[in-house]
Assembly symmetry: C2
Homo-oligomer: 348 residues x 2
């Protein structure tokens, strides 16, 4: 049986209608709403074929048809039309990125929020990761009479602060000097490189302050581990409640539970191995609680070559075209803002 033009037109009509209404689409509806110049009976015959081919499903005998995962797949691969973002949407995304570009964690958080707001779907973002991150900067700054600020940064510019409580804070110059020495010792190390010998050397350098060593080491370790752990930001999960496919509270709950497991999200995002946009439809992801969901992912590159992944999750009946355009817009934005930052540097 051939998938001729007319069948495709009908399939497209079914998908469009179902995306818009979430109701099974009948032959008469198509005949009336979409002027294909054929009668409902003819449409019925074609629909029967489409069902046989696996592109649409009849939920029960006297209902209209809904697209199957395979139907959506065809739609996404061959039928879907690219849509451009509206100017104001573009602007909105851009302003969010520009406002947060200097702090990766805020950028992720705010970007996720912005995308959820724009699409009404759920957004997942993973931060760029550096494996076996080497320490790059370790510094001490005085804060107040009992606190020292420890700043640690790893390659990939993952930065973290820790406040160390001490009884006596060394005088400023002395503290800087201490920081510089610690930095010299630890710079370039990964967390695994820090052995007894190095700890010994540190202890020697710290002298009367050696009691802060455990806190210091633990802070350094936390930073290093943090840089290696993939951070995932989730936003707009509550949007799920708005979709009729989750008006059953049990389903909603089980999806929420799934989304709470960070590892699951990471796995989901990791599916995207190349840089292209990737669309996972329905049970293409292997999670029971997400069999009625689709996830669209794409990667973005920060200036330094590290890459993260953005994913948008919605019902299989999601507006693929919109989501794709928002994701494209977002990635372009991040790149643009980074480029603009570079220009700025050159200009001045």
């Amino acid at each position: 049986m051939a998938l001729n033009d007319r069948k495709i037109q009908i399939l497209q009509a079914i998908i469009n209608d179902y995306i818009a209404t979430a109701e099974p689409v009948g032959s008469r509806t198509i005949a009336k709403k979409y002027n294909l110049g054929i009668s409902s009976a003819t449409i019925r015959n074609e629909m029967s074929d489409l069902e046989e081919m696996g592109f649409i499903i009849q939920p029960h005998a006297s209902a209209g048809r809904i697209p199957s995962d395979l139907g959506y797949r065809l739609y996404v691969d061959r039928l879907m039309q690219k849509r451009e973002l509206k100017e104001e949407e573009q602007q909105f995304l851009q302003s969010v990125v520009a406002r947060n570009i200097s702090q990766i964690d805020y950028l992720m958080e705010e970007t996720a929020k912005a995308i959820s707001m724009l699409t009404n779907y759920t957004t997942l973002i993973s931060e760029p990761v550096s494996k076996g991150a080497k320490l790059k900067q370790i510094r001490l700054l005085p804060l107040d009479s009992e606190s020292i600020l420890l700043v640690t940064a790893t390659e990939g510019n993952y930065v973290k602060n820790h406040i160390l409580k001490v009884s006596v804070v060394p005088e400023e110059e002395k503290l800087f000097e201490l920081g510089r020495e610690i930095n010299a010792i630890l710079k370039g190390c990964t967390i695994n490189d820090i052995d007894q010998r190095i700890v010994g050397v540190l202890k020697g350098k710290l002298q009367e302050y050696s009691y802060i060593l455990p806190a210091l080491l633990s802070a350094v370790e936390q930073t290093a581990r943090g840089a290696e752990n993939i951070q995932v930001h989730l936003s707009g999960a509550k949007n799920i409640l708005a979709f009729p496919e989750f008006s059953d509270i049990q389903r909603a709950k089980s999806l929420f539970q799934t989304l709470e497991q960070k590892e699951v999200l990471v796995t989901l995002l990791k599916e995207n191995k190349d840089d292209a946009m990737q669309i996972m439809i329905g049970s293409e992801n292997n999670l029971q609680s997400m069999k009625d969901c689709s996830v669209i992912t794409t990667t973005y590159k920060m200036g330094d070559g590290t890459r993260g992944t953005i994913g948008i999750l919605g019902p299989t009946r999601m507006d693929y075209s919109q989501v794709v355009s928002v994701l494209n817009g977002m990635v372009k934005n991040i790149e643009n803002v980074l480029k603009a930052l570079k220009e700025e540097k050159k200009d001045s």
Copy 2:
């Protein structure tokens, strides 16, 4: 009509049963389950009185009774028994606090998570706030060939990092010196103190790097504003779905929407003006979508005198006794860990 002992016993039975089952409690249930030594008919008479007094409500004519807000109020003020945390619960909380005590934002986030996990309710936490925060530390550190790390801290030890992109990073010593000078200029200023004159001075100091000034100022401003803005952490909102009072998806959605508005949360937490534990029952908070919810708040003090608020939100039918003990345990924990930190310093 007097609220004699027997009435109180019956009220207590109703509340206990309703908290456990979420089903209206009938006279026969009480007669059978709680051995009060009186018949269901007598209980019926007493219940009729309790209803007249406003402590219980009959949802409809042929149903049992449920506690009214007033009933819960009486329970909370006079009947509720203090419960001690189990050893393992105590330990769990303590480990969370100990692990995160050095970073206020993580502490809040993780504490919120821990409490939600322990209670199965929703947790809100606001961070300590400093009004008109003065800048305390501004430093520059080299990160890589195109990035400078700007560390800013305000009074109250609110610390933030920003990465500034530049075309040429000054040599390390030079950069420190720059940082030191900027610090000298800005130290002690609030964000409002930074006027044209100061900007001019900064510009002079920065010389060929003056193009980073906008980014630097914006970063400083962000930090200062951040210190002034109340940060609120919300955790375990999805727990709400588990309660039968929110099995109606509309209600759940509207509560979720309310919880998404940060200002609402802040207002809620701000209700707690003194340091004592405060219990807001049902419509005592004036939010329509939360009229079936209670919020229990308490404040915690960080070492430096700043204070934040922890709130637990659940259905009015929540386990007040458990929540109170968890909150007490948590506050005690934070204090203990802080004290332990101080001891540690002295010992060494």
